[in-house]
Subunit: 184 residues, 2 copies
DNA sequence: ACGGCTAGTAAACATGCGTATACTCAAGTC
DNA sequence: GACTTGAGTATACGCATGTTTACTAGCCGT
């Protein structure tokens, strides 16, 4: 019994190490750039265990995504302050990659055929739909879509040109941008 | 003399075929997804010729970028109508990938280490700087950056969720978004 | 007619990838 | 204490990639 617990703990612990390493690496470098060997090395685990526990690299990526919470905290709250909250969140993303590895992984990685579908679903389920639901009103879909596009664009730009420290003016500008995105 | 012309024409013609095929494929699928073999097949040329004429895959990609004109036409003109022109251009990009393969290639492809630098330079030189110069005024850099981010984001979203036919309301909204981006 | 030049070719090379196999070895059961 | 179980390991497999190496063939000037 206690023996089995030990065994399972070992198994679970390694699985967790792999998952954690994958989370970090995928978030940092994207799906393509990260190899299974890198993950295994970072997790201090054997390569074969990745396949054993997660089936495949894509399966591991999916497991990483599943383990992440949505960012609904940003959407919740009063609708009036929403553009400002989005702007502050976006400004944070000008500064550095999102804390949530899921978002980082989704920022990148959406290209690869193997994970494109899963990344798409996650973007819709975790960002687009909650935002659309929060918005309500006319053209909610198009408005949510536009705000999402701005998010993606800010991440894309930071990835290409490097981070930029947002000024207060930037936050104001971003607020105006999101207001324009979300206006009925 | 005429013989040499013939020879050169043959060489130049195949080089051009390769370049054209690369332009199309890179634009359609991005740097990573396109293999040298695919390009060679599409150009009806031998694989080795790609290396011979362009040095490497990255070199070929660079050659594709060099051959493309900038999109300065959108930036030129009166500053007042700029947001509208940008919005119409962006709306076009909601509908389908840009006609200019350079932009398509830059939308994607920016991830790969080999071409990240060249893609970055192109984004700055062909989009960000012209726009910034056209803008003038305070915070021109930050404003141009934000508009560029919106562009990138719209492309990123289309790539993930598929094209969307923009409504007139979308164009209006986009105009407002760009006005917010570019406002001093 | 011939000899050299060169565009074009076919095939291999080296590498890195994700994945699968066969094994080791410690822990648990009886 | 032999036997079983299963986590962990080392290694190889198959494949696709970018790149390079000889080689072929046709056109040129002489």
């Amino acid at each position: 019994m206690s023996a089995q617990v030990t065994r399972l703990r070992g198994r679970e612990a390694t699985r967790e190490r792999i998952l954690r390493a994958a989370r970090t690496l995928f978030g940092e470098h994207g799906y393509e750039q990260v190899t299974v060997r890198m993950i295994a090395a970072a997790a201090d685990a054997n390569i074969a265990l990745v396949g054993r526990y997660f089936g495949s690299k894509a399966g591991l990526f999916g497991a990483v995504l599943e383990g992440e919470p949505t960012i609904s905290a940003v959407f919740g709250g009063d609708s009036e302050g929403l553009p400002r909250r989005l702007a502050e969140y976006a400004a944070e993303r000008m500064r550095h990659p999102p804390d949530s590895p899921i978002l980082r992984a989704l920022e990148r990685s959406a290209q690869h055929p193997e994970v494109a579908e899963i990344a798409r679903e996650r973007l819709v389920g975790a960002v687009l739909q909650p935002l659309e639901a929060q918005l309500g009103g006319r053209d909610a879909h198009a408005r949510a879509r536009m705000a999402t596009a701005v998010f993606l664009g800010i991440g894309a730009l930071r990835r290409r040109l490097g981070p930029e420290e947002p000024t207060p003016a930037d936050v104001d500008r971003l607020t105006a941008v999101f207001e324009a995105c979300l206006a009925e």
